[in-house]
Amino acid sequence: MTRVVRNFTKSKGMTILIVTAAIIVFFYIMNPAYLSFDNVRGIMYAMSLSGTITCGMACLMMSGAIDLASGAEGMLAGVLVAFLLRTDIPWFPAVLMILGVGAVFGLVNAFFANILNFMPFIATIAMSSVYQGIAGVITTNQPIMITNKAFWELGSISLWVFPLPFIIMVVLLIIYGLLIANTKFGRQMLLCGGNRNAARLAGISYKKITTIMYINNGCIASLGGIVLAARMHSGSMQSVIGSEMDGMTAAIIGGVSFLGGGSSGMTVVFIGIMMLNCFKNGLYIIQLDPYWQVVSNGALLVLALIVDFFREKRRLASLKAPAREAPAKQT
C-alpha cells in the first residue's frame, strides 16, 4: 500500500490532482455555490457521461487505436433504446440488445481499421456522420420520449449521495483499471499501444487486440448513451454528440498518450475526468459567456494534445529506434 502511495505521489496523477484541487478552490472562491450539494451532484452527473465515454476511449487509446465516433455511437444507442422501449419490450433485454448493437459499432470500426487498413481517424469520423444520419432518419430530429418508468430509474436513483450513473462510471473505471493493471490481456494491450513491432515479435496480434478494444469501446459508449437516455427520459439526436472530444481530452489529461499508447492507470484517468468536469462546471457556475466555455474546452484539448506531443517526443527520443512502425502508405 505504501508503495502504491509513493508511486502515486511521483506520478503524473499527483500533478493533475493538485491542478484539480486548485481549480476547485478557485471556483469556490469565485462562487461558493460551486461546492453546494446540488452543484456537486451536477458535476457528478456530468462526469458520469463523459467518464463512461472516457473509460472506453482511454482503453482504446492505450492499445494504440482511436474512435472518434464514440459520441455518435452513444447518441445512436440512446435513440435506439428509446425507440425499442416504445414497444412492450421490458427495459433489461432492450438494454442488452442495444449493448449488442454497440458491439456491432465497434466491429464496424475494427473492420475498416484492421481489415481495410483505413486510418482509424478518418474511418471513425465518417462513421460518426453515418450514425448521425441514421439517428436523424429514426427520430426526424425530435426526441423520442421514453415512458418506461423502470428504465428511468437507471438514470435517477441514488445510493446515498451518489447517482447511479456516477456509480456505473466509477465501477467501470475500477473494473478496467484492475483489468489493465492485473491481467495478462491488459498488459498485452499496453504492449500493442507502446510498440507494435515488439508486440508482433512477441506473438501478440495487434489487430486482434484492437478489434476487441473497438468492440469494447462501442459497448461502453452505448452504455453511456443508454444511461443518459434513462436520465433524460428520452432518446435525442443532440444528446451525446461531441462527448468523444471530452473523452479524448480527459483521457489525455489522465496520462493516456494520444500518439503512443501508454498510460498511468485508470486512477489518473479518473482524476482527468474529474478535472475536466470541474473545470467545465466552474466556467458555467461563474456564468462565463457560453461561447467562451466552448472556446475554453477546445483550448483545453489543444493544450492536452500539445503537452502529450512533447511528452511523447521526449519519451521516444530515449529509444534509438522509433517505438512505432513508420506509417505505411495507407489509404
Partner: protein, 321 residues
C-alpha cells in the same frame, strides 16, 4: 517508344469508371423521378450545390496530393462568412472586407503549416487543434447569431443568374477548377506537388523544398476555404455558424472518390471534378425523390467510406501488378 492511345488511356482511367458510375446513378434517379432528374432546374441545383464544395475540393486535392491534410478548412470557411458579414456591417468597403478575411485565412493556413513543417506535429493533430481554435473564435464572434449580408456587389456574386437562369458563381467554379487543373497538370509547380507527395525525401535531394510547397498549399487551402465561406454567405445573404455541409471532410470526399489518396502523390483535378459531380448528383437525387434529409448526412459518411474502399482495392490492384 510505344505510347498508349488516347482511347485506351481513357478507358483505363478511374475517371471513366466514375463517369460510368455516375451515369448509372443518374439513370436510376431519372427513372425513379419520372425524368425530373434531368430537368434544367435539377441540373442547376446540382451545379449550385457543387459551388461551395468545389473550392474546398481544389484546396484539399492539392494538399492531399502533396501528402498532407487539413481538417480545419470547414471551420475556416464558416468563420470567413461570419467575419465578412461583420466587416461589411461595420461599414468596411467590400473589397477591403474580403481582403481582410482572406488575410486572416492565410494566417490560419500559415499556422497549420508552421505546426506541421517546423514543430513536426502530425497533420491530423495539428489541424484538428487549429480547427478547435478557429471554431472557438467563430462562436465568440458570432454568438451563434447570423449576420445579414446586404452589400449589393457581394450579393450579386452569390446570387446573380445570367439570363435569369444560369448562376454566375457556377462560372467561377468552372474557372477555378480549370485553373487549378491546369496548374496541377501542366506547370512546374504542379509537378512539384506530385513529387513532394510521392517522396518528400527524394524531392528534397533533387533540389525541391517540400516545406515551401507545403507552406504554399496550406495557405492556398485556407484561402480557398475562406472564399467558399464568403460565397456561401453571399448566397444565403447572411453569415452564420451553420457551417459547410459535410464538415471536416467536405472537400475530401469528392477528391478521394476521384482517385486522390491519403498517401499523396496521385490523383488529379479531373477525377476530383467527376467525384464531386457524383457526390452532388447523388445527394441531390436523394432530395429530389423526397427522401428524409438525414439520409444525406448518412450518405456523406458512407460515401467517404465507399470512396476509401474504392481507393483501397485500386491500390491493391496496382501493388499486385
Amino acid at each position: 517508344m510505344e505510347k498508349k492511345s488516347f482511347l485506351k488511356r481513357l478507358t483505363q482511367s478511374k475517371m471513366f469508371v466514375l463517369l460510368l458510375l455516375y451515369i448509372a446513378v443518374a439513370a436510376f434517379y431519372t427513372i425513379i423521378s419520372k425524368g425530373q432528374y434531368l430537368y434544367w432546374v435539377n441540373i442547376r441545383n446540382i451545379l449550385s450545390s457543387m459551388v461551395i464544395t468545389a473550392y474546398l475540393t481544389c484546396g484539399a486535392v492539392f494538399l492531399m496530393i502533396s501528402g498532407n491534410i487539413d481538417l480545419s478548412t470547414a471551420q475556416v470557411s464558416t468563420i470567413s462568412g461570419i467575419l465578412m458579414a461583420q466587416f461589411l456591417m461595420k461599414g468596411f468597403p467590400w473589397p477591403l472586407a474580403i481582403l481582410a478575411v482572406l488575410a486572416g485565412a492565410a494566417l490560419v493556413g500559415f499556422i497549420n503549416a508552421v505546426l506541421i513543417n517546423e514543430v513536426k506535429f502530425q497533420p491530423f493533430v495539428a489541424t484538428m487543434a487549429v480547427s478547435y481554435m478557429v471554431q472557438g473564435g467563430m462562436l465568440l464572434l458570432s454568438h451563434g447569431a447570423a449576420v445579414e449580408v446586404s452589400n449589393k456587389y457581394i450579393v450579386w456574386l452569390g446570387t446573380y443568374r445570367i439570363a435569369g437562369q444560369f448562376p454566375v458563381n457556377i462560372l467561377f467554379t468552372f474557372a477555378i477548377f480549370t485553373i487549378y487543373g491546369v496548374v496541377l497538370a501542366k506547370t512546374k509547380f504542379g509537378k512539384k506537388i506530385y513529387m513532394v507527395g510521392g517522396n518528400p525525401v527524394a524531392a528534397k535531394l533533387s533540389g525541391i523544398n517540400p516545406k515551401k510547397v507545403w507552406y504554399i498549399l496550406f495557405i492556398n487551402n485556407a484561402v480557398l476555404g475562406s472564399v467558399a465561406g464568403m460565397l456561401q454567405a453571399a448566397r444565403l445573404r447572411s453569415g452564420s455558424a451553420t457551417g459547410i455541409a459535410g464538415g471536416a471532410f467536405a472537400g475530401m470526399t469528392g477528391a478521394i472518390l476521384g482517385g486522390v489518396s491519403f498517401g499523396g502523390g496521385s490523383g488529379g483535378m479531373g477525377g476530383a471534378f467527376v467525384g464531386l459531380v457524383l457526390l452532388n448528383g447523388f445527394n441531390s437525387g436523394l432530395t429530389l425523390i423526397g427522401i428524409n434529409p438525414y439520409w444525406q448526412t448518412m450518405a456523406s459518411g458512407a460515401l467517404l467510406l465507399i470512396a476509401l474502399t474504392f481507393d483501397y482495392f485500386n491500390t491493391k490492384r496496382l501493388m499486385r501488378r
